[in-house]
């Protein structure tokens, strides 16, 4: 009992120390809050969406972001949007929308919209904001709409969920692979180490694009969006584990020489116990840092894959798909607001990077 | 007694972190004399090393010397210079030729990317204006002097090719390369085994005898102090709690902390299998510096409220020592002041 307690205490202080150092990193703290917020957003994506992110309508094609008016004419707090009407100018072929301020469409908080599964558990159709008295073509378009008339805000919410979980699942897999192979490589050494090191070198020497292309093209035709999604995640993580493996191996090798490991060995602790009770906790914070740095790489990978027309394909919605939608001249010229979907990507990647840096600094203040 | 080479008064070095100010050195006084060794002793974290760095003006940011004086008497005579007031540029001229440093980790204190010859001759070239060849020749002489075998060959070795003892010898050679008058040795033997430790201490002693070096020996090891120091300054939480000659400190320690330190030295006379006495508790965190006497939470001889309420002033004892403890004076004045404050 006493021994376990003291062990816990030792581990706790290590993490506590890290946490204490981490807290001083203001930017990293802010980033952590941001990241948590984004994941919260991901959990409640459908709730926050105002319209069905898949629903298309030519009437609402390429609407610029529309403001929400908070107060009614009489000054009372009644959030609403104005009705808008579009006409295609047959000289310029542009859609011209005119706002009709006299027609007010009121916002209903916690109203009913399209139905969805919250947490994948219970079905509901409650949304943060819906419209009370909409006519066809009305909507809350705070970030505008795309060519198919779909609301960018709602799509962005759902995309956030997809892209952020791809990152998490991918990192989990590569973490597992990285720790396992890196650890095995370090613990057993010799031939095992050589073989694993060679695999790492080959994987790292392979240009990523053909690997992605080949693997993604080999996915079966009849797979559902969900299956493809997981396959893509696995593909990305299959390439991403090598860095983690290197970190883990390096740390393992360094720790092997440390006194407390030696002591544990002399005390007759089993190898597994040494690894999991003594070694892993001592560089857990390094792993956390490495993971938080690997996540943005995963997210970028997903966007690149989608850009190349691999990976997730519409009708799935992810950040990569939204960015790919914006990847053309007409978007830049006619609907530049679609580029707004780059902002959460940039913010999350920044946040993860700062978070990772902060964690690394905190975990390892003196190198 | 002769005039000190280095005279430190009320030295204060503080670290300005985001959570507040850490008073790493909080009013330290000491004098260093030619041919004598001043031992600075204390538990780790008491501010010994920061004191040493403060003297050299190389306190890492966000730390800064905020007060006090460091008077250095120049070799050629003339008025003493206050190092604490010099700019970094001016200070550089004193590092090496006047004051040199020997570090506690001989391995980490060398760059692994250059040969020891390169690293020794660097200072020589800078301060003594010698050319490459002359500097190398001097480096070999220095290695010979500190007892490195085959110095002409060793001069081209990299630090990692040397044993720990040799490395520390080289470190000392490097420190002495510009003939400094003051050598600060910061835990010079901590990382070495006992035999090597003795050799290095011997070396320092003989060098001191040859050159009349003033040495500031920083250590946590009372044994080393006993062996090396002429004068001793015991530090606790950034302050010297007791200072005096080595005999008096060892024979008649006056501060409870000094007494506690001395008790924790193992002696051959001790009974087998008895626990060594330790000092209760551990050093408080710098942010949680206790009110009053910083040592009072751990003190076995605490008098009462006054220890927790007021800081003991330095008291000069009749045998020429200085102690900061109410056991030895200053209690009445402090109590009076406390009462006055309450009223």
């Amino acid at each position: 009992m006493a021994q376990i307690d003291s062990e816990k205490y030792a581990v706790a202080t290590q993490l506590q120390l890290t946490w204490w150092r981490f807290r001083r990193h203001r930017l990293a703290m802010v980033s952590m809050v941001l990241v948590l917020l984004f994941y919260l957003l991901a959990v409640f994506a459908d709730f926050l969406a105002t319209t069905d992110p898949h629903a298309t309508d030519a009437r609402t094609s390429y609407i610029a972001p529309q403001p929400i008016h908070l107060f009614d004419d009489d000054g009372s707090f009644r959030p609403h949007v104005s009705g808008i009407k579009g006409v295609r100018d047959m000289r310029t072929f542009k859609l011209v929308y005119t706002v009709d301020p006299s027609r007010k469409v009121y916002i209903d908080f916690f109203g009913r919209g399209y139905s969805y599964n919250l947490f994948g558990l219970f079905e509901t159709d409650r949304h943060l904001m819906t419209l009370k008295n909409p006519e066809r073509g009305d909507g809350i378009f705070i970030m505008g709409t795309d060519l198919l008339g779909r609301d960018l805000w709602s799509r962005l919410m759902v995309a956030t969920r997809v892209s952020l979980t791809i990152g998490l699942v991918g990192v989990t897999i590569s973490l597992f692979l990285g720790v396992l192979l890196g650890g095995v490589s370090a613990v057993y050494g010799g031939l095992v180490d050589t073989v694993i090191q060679r695999i790492i070198e080959v994987v790292r020497s392979m240009p990523t694009i053909p690997l992605w292309l080949g693997l993604a093209a080999a996915l079966p035709n009849d797979w559902s969006v969900l299956q493809i999604y997981f396959a893509i995640t696995i593909i990305i993580s299959l390439l991403a584990w090598t860095d983690l493996a290197r970190v883990v191996r390096g740390k393992f090798l360094a720790l092997k020489e440390e006194d407390f490991v030696m002591a544990a060995e002399l005390a007759g602790a089993s190898q597994g116990r040494i690894i999991f009770r003594h070694m892993l906790p001592s560089f857990a914070s390094h792993i956390i840092a490495a993971v938080s740095l690997a996540l943005p790489a995963m997210i970028i990978s997903e966007t690149s894959l989608s850009f190349l027309g691999l990976g997730l394909r519409p009708p799935a919605i992810s950040w990569g798909i939204l960015l790919q939608d914006a990847q053309n001249i007409q978007t830049l010229a006619l609907a530049p607001w679609l580029l707004l979907s780059a902002i959460p990507v940039v913010v999350v990647i920044l946040a993860f990077n700062f978070l990772g840096d902060g964690l690394r600094d905190a975990a390892d203040p003196y190198g | 007694m002769a005039e000190p080479i280095l005279s430190v008064r009320d030295l204060k070095t503080q670290f300005f972190g985001p959570e507040g100010v850490v008073r790493a050195v909080d009013g330290v006084d000491f004098d260093v004399f030619e041919g004598r060794t001043l031992g600075v002793v204390g538990e780790s974290g008491c501010g010994k090393s920061v004191t040493a760095r403060s003297v050299l003006g190389i306190v890492d940011r966000p730390g800064r010397v905020v007060g006090g004086s460091i008077m250095l008497r120049p070799a050629k005579g003339g008025p003493a210079v206050d190092l604490a007031k010099l700019s970094n540029e001016e200070m550089r001229r004193y590092r090496g030729p006047e004051i040199a440093l020997v570090f506690q980790e001989p391995m980490a204190s060398f760059s692994q990317h250059y040969t020891i010859g390169n690293q020794i001759s660097e200072g020589i070239k800078l301060h003594m204006g010698l050319d490459e060849r002359a500097a190398k020749k001097r480096a070999i002489e220095l290695l010979d002097m500190v007892g490195v075998p085959q110095p002409a060959r060793r001069v081209d070795d990299y630090p990692f090719q040397l044993s720990g003892g040799l490395r520390q010898r080289v470190m000392i050679a490097m420190a002495l390369s510009c003939d400094p008058r003051v050598l600060i040795a910061d835990e010079p033997t901590t990382a070495l085994d006992v035999t090597t430790q003795a050799q290095i201490l011997d070396l320092l002693r003989s060098l001191q005898a040859q050159r009349g070096l003033a040495i500031i020996l920083i250590t946590h090891d009372m044994g080393v102090i006993a062996e090396m120091a002429h004068d001793v300054s015991v530090m606790y939480l950034g302050r010297a709690v007791e200072s005096g000659s080595v005999q008096e400190i060892f024979n008649r320690p006056q501060h409870p902390y000094t007494r506690a330190l001395l008790k924790s030295i193992p002696t051959v006379l001790a009974k087998p299998r008895t626990r060594l006495p330790t000092i209760a508790g551990s050093i408080p965190h710098p942010f949680n510096r206790p009110r009053g006497c910083a040592y009072h939470p751990r003190c076995a001889e605490m008098i009462g409220a006054v220890c927790a309420g007021a800081e003991p002033p330095p008291v000069d004892t009749p045998d020429g020592r200085q102690v900061r403890c109410f056991l030895h004076g200053g209690r009445e004045a402090a109590e009076a002041e406390m009462a006055g404050a309450k009223a």
Binding site: M206, P210, L308, N353, G367 | E122, Y158
Partner: protein, 329 residues
């Protein structure tokens, strides 16, 4: 030393071989073969290819044979220096790549140069002035470089340079110069087109390197040998440049190996967006068209570059770090 180099070389050959197998497998992974892709292309443009013709084409290209036979033949040819013919381009692979490899190398090299000349000073500055305003500013700019997907940046920059300056940025030469033989004017033309893609390409890598440099240097700056050097009375610049910067360069050296393939991989997407005649778009097209020999050769080439890069970076590491050099003995 020689034993070490031989060992590394042998391992390198082994790696290259593994890469060649892997790349061949990957190219074969998607269902169908070149003839299928080719027929699809022809049908899309109105031509028709019957099943009988498809079979004859397959026979012509030797596609009907089992995988290992195709691989064996390919390998046997490569050993003799014959990389085969690109099915899509209907030219020897070496010629097809030859047109582009130099531009790719040039672009990557320009990006590399840009990366280092930006990352080193900024990284050092950021570390030495840690938590200063400039450190935060550079870090932020650097991170944005990492965070903004470079394909997005590429198109946006291309479009706005068209809107504002009326010039199209795409390509590495202006239309008049593509056909011209090499001359000073053509080199100048290339120089005018090079910086923008190189910059876009360099952004991500620069940010990465700034971070590595800053982190390494921060670690090194805390080491006792820096104090030792300061205690010698060296100037601060000299202290930092001679000691910690030198030590922080170690990871730089070991990164050389992966920097080049990283740049080439990165250049694929940027090149597609900007329409640059590099091997990147060629590789993607070859993979899509299942043009085996072309795709295989490019992948192999990149693999070899990495292996050679690893080897070079080992040598550089040995040169930079005496510890490694002495471990060899």
């Amino acid at each position: 030393m020689i034993a070490f180099i031989t060992r590394r070389l042998l391992l390198g050959v082994l790696t290259v071989w593994l890469i060649s197998v892997l790349s061949f497998v990957i190219i074969q992974l998607p269902p169908g073969d070149f003839v299928d892709a080719y027929i699809a292309q022809l049908s899309a443009s109105g031509s028709q290819v019957s099943a009988a013709e498809a079979d004859s084409l397959r026979h012509l290209y030797g596609l009907g044979e089992p995988f290992y036979v195709q691989y064996g033949k390919w390998l046997a040819r490569i050993i003799t220096g014959d990389f085969g013919e690109s099915m899509e381009w209907r030219r020897p692979v070496t010629e097809v790549i030859g047109d582009r490899i130099w531009l790719t190398l040039l672009l990557s090299f320009a990006a590399l140069l840009l990366t280092w000349s930006l990352a080193l000073p900024i990284g050092i500055f950021s570390a030495v002035r840690q938590y200063s305003f400039a450190d935060y500013a550079f870090t932020l700019i650097g991170f944005i470089g990492i965070a903004v997907p470079n394909f997005l940046l590429a198109l946006v920059i291309m479009y706005f340079s068209f809107v504002w300056f009326g010039t199209s940025v795409g390509g590495l030469f202006s239309a008049e110069m593509t056909l011209a033989p090499w001359s000073l004017a053509k080199v100048w033309d290339l120089m005018k087109h090079l910086p923008l893609p190189a910059l876009i390409l360099a952004l991500g890598g620069t940010a990465q390197l700034i971070r590595i440099m800053r982190a390494n240097l921060l670690d090194e700056l805390r080491r006792p040998y820096v104090v030792t050097a300061r205690a010698k009375g060296l100037s601060e610049t000299r202290v930092i440049v001679k000691y910690p910067v030198r030590a922080a360069l170690n990871p730089f050296a070991s990164n050389i190996a992966y920097l080049f393939p990283y740049l080439v991989s990165g250049s694929i997407i940027v090149s597609i967006v900007l329409g640059l005649p590099t091997v990147g778009p060629l590789l993607v097209k070859a993979l899509v068209a299942q043009d085996m020999f072309l795709a295989g050769t490019i992948v192999l080439l990149l693999g070899v570059m990495t292996v050679v890069g690893t080897f070079i970076s080992d040598l550089v590491l040995m040169w930079v770090d005496p510890r490694i050099r002495h471990q060899m003995d």
